[in-house]
Amino acid sequence: MTSPAYPIVSKDNDGSSIWSFLKNELRPKGKWFTPFNIISIPIMLLGLGLIVIRFINGIGSVTNLTQETPWGIWIGFDVVTGVAFAGGAYVLTFMVYILKMNKYHSIVRITVLNGFLAYVFYAGALLLDLGRPWNVINPIIGNSFGTSSVLFLVAWHFMLYMLAELIEFSPAIAEWLGARRAHKILSGMTIAAVIFGITLSTLHQSGLGALYLMAKDKIHPLWYSEFIPVLFLVSSIFAGLSMVIFEGTISHKVFSDQISKKNHHAEKGILHGLSKICAGAMFAYFFLQLLVFIHGKHWNLLNTPMGYWYLLEMIGFVLIPMLMFFYSYRTNNIFMIRLAAILTMLGIILNRLNVTVIGFKWDAATHYIPTWMEIVVTLAVIFTEIWIFRWVINRMPVLRDSPKWAAEENH
């Protein structure tokens, strides 16, 4: 579903009924048989089937989860890693709206959209793991809040954060629908939603790490420490920005017909600036990890297989990309910035999986290995998110400029 059949100028709802407009928008645009579609559609359909089987036959029929390892890649990858990558939204809105770095203004909307969809889908993926998913509403409505659990915080934060992201993104929806009064009201709420979102993010990024504080004896000492929440928070900064770089590069190519000339030229400058911030954040993170390591006094553990794995993660996927960001910032090497972003993202995936899955009960007799069905469901969730992402970008003014009436209001 590439090349939209409609012209590039944003559509206004000029008087025609809103229902026929929405019906029209629901119709697919572009080709059906692109390589991405051909790969993703079967996986999504298969994933849907597997989810149905999971709910009929129970989680054991589809996954390798056991009483010993109750949390697998659905939580370790979809929820924990996905939320880390969605951290770009709070970092970027902080930079643009609070620090007034308006250079990055053109990518705020797409990053906020990405963050919003990430949280919606990964909170949804969380439901797959629950034995009694209908109880997920309890922390909210109060049928046993569960205030002694970190999950109470996570549940509330996810809900509030999704709301804040939706409000931040809603001016784009109003522009799409041509709702001028709504646009005015919602634009006024942006800064409040931004501040709220940033405050929430700091807590739930670290909160997901705090979930593992309880598992002191189960996580390998090189990854377990009382500082997991802080490390998760700091790493979410550059995880989010690396995701912005990666996804921005792809969007820039795929949706290039929507991007205005000015924003095309601005891309290099934006990537350049982001690499500096990533280099700085990763420098701080590396030293934090070093300090935590020294504090834990696990020197003798370095000479074990898990120790080598730890060194690989720290040196290969934190220190080296940090140096690459540093170098490419000074030499303005855009290719290396993108490469460093990919390495960083792999490092974050590695780190999160190490804490949640690989380092969890690393010394058990039988290790947890995800079934192919778990992997298919994970991919299906990600692909569905990308489909909706693409649907929104092709219709709403996310990458393309806002319609004139909205642009005038914003200034």
Binding site: K103, H265, G269, K276, A279, G280, F283, F287, L290, L291, I294, H295, K297, W299, F326, Y329, R330
Partner: protein, 256 residues
């Protein structure tokens, strides 16, 4: 040995403190190194106009009225406006005066640039026949400011006396030197003009520290533009009363 004790820094917090000190010790050169070479780009994005933020390609012939000429392999020359002039005046719209096929002499008016109704005349640097006017400039005037040397060329002219016309023009290092001199002359011009035309020095064209802000002419009034035309682009504009007491040494010279 009796009475010998030592503190194992691994047993105490000693090594952690050392790690923190090392962090700060490494942070300072890290930060300095990270920011060092980018100063020039920062100046550009901070909106400063000085010799470092200008683009002066070394292979073009620059006339002293800020028009560049480049002779192509086929013998057709392209001419355009130089980066310094564009940074001085700001975003302008371009109106070509001469049409394709017309003959032009060095010193004849070639085009006008216009910013919010303030006009400047541009005079041709070479004599010859107009082969083509850049068609993109009328639709995309921002191309002129974005890329004045490649995509934002003004005219393609077939020269009839290239060597004679460009003999006194600035090339390579001379062009950089000339731009330096023009910037200094321009700073003087701005401060004198602002004092002359507005008793209240409210329009700030110079930052504290003497650095020029980018596009300083953009907000200045019509009278200053007319003075600018005379001092920097050669020849007076029409309908301009010659002000006898205002000659700072820059004479509007004949171009022939």
């Amino acid at each position: 040995m009796d009475g010998f004790t030592y503190n194992n820094i691994f047993e105490t917090k000693g090594i952690e403190y050392l790690a923190i000190l090392a962090f700060f010790a490494i942070l300072i050169p890290f930060w300095l190194l990270l920011n060092r070479q980018i100063k020039i780009n920062k100046q550009k994005s901070a909106g400063i106009l000085n010799i470092n933020t200008l683009n002066i390609p070394q292979g073009l012939f620059f006339s002293k009225y800020h028009i560049w000429s480049h002779l192509g392999v086929s013998g057709i020359a392209r001419v355009g406006i130089d980066d310094l002039l564009l940074h001085m005046v700001g975003d302008v719209k371009f109106t070509g005066i001469k049409e394709q096929g017309e003959r032009i002499k060095k010193g004849e008016i070639l085009a006008k640039i216009n910013h919010n109704g303030k006009l400047l005349n541009l005079y041709s640097p070479i004599s010859g026949e107009i082969m083509e006017a850049n068609p993109v400039l009328t639709h995309n005037p921002e191309l002129l400011n974005e890329d004045p040397y490649v995509k934002g060329w003004m005219y393609k002219i077939k020269p009839i006396s290239w060597t004679a016309d460009t003999y006194s023009y600035y090339l390579a290092e001379d062009a950089i030197q000339f731009s330096r001199q023009e910037l200094d002359k321009f700073k003087d011009f701005i401060s004198t003009s602002v004092r002359k035309y507005s008793p209240v020095p409210s329009m700030v064209a110079l930052q504290d520290g003497g650095e020029l802000l980018d596009q300083p002419m953009a907000e200045l009034p019509e009278e200053i533009w007319q003075d600018f035309q005379e001092d920097f682009l050669g020849k007076k504009t029409f309908n301009r009363k010659k002000n006898c007491d205002f000659h700072r040494g820059a004479q509007p010279e004949n171009l022939i």
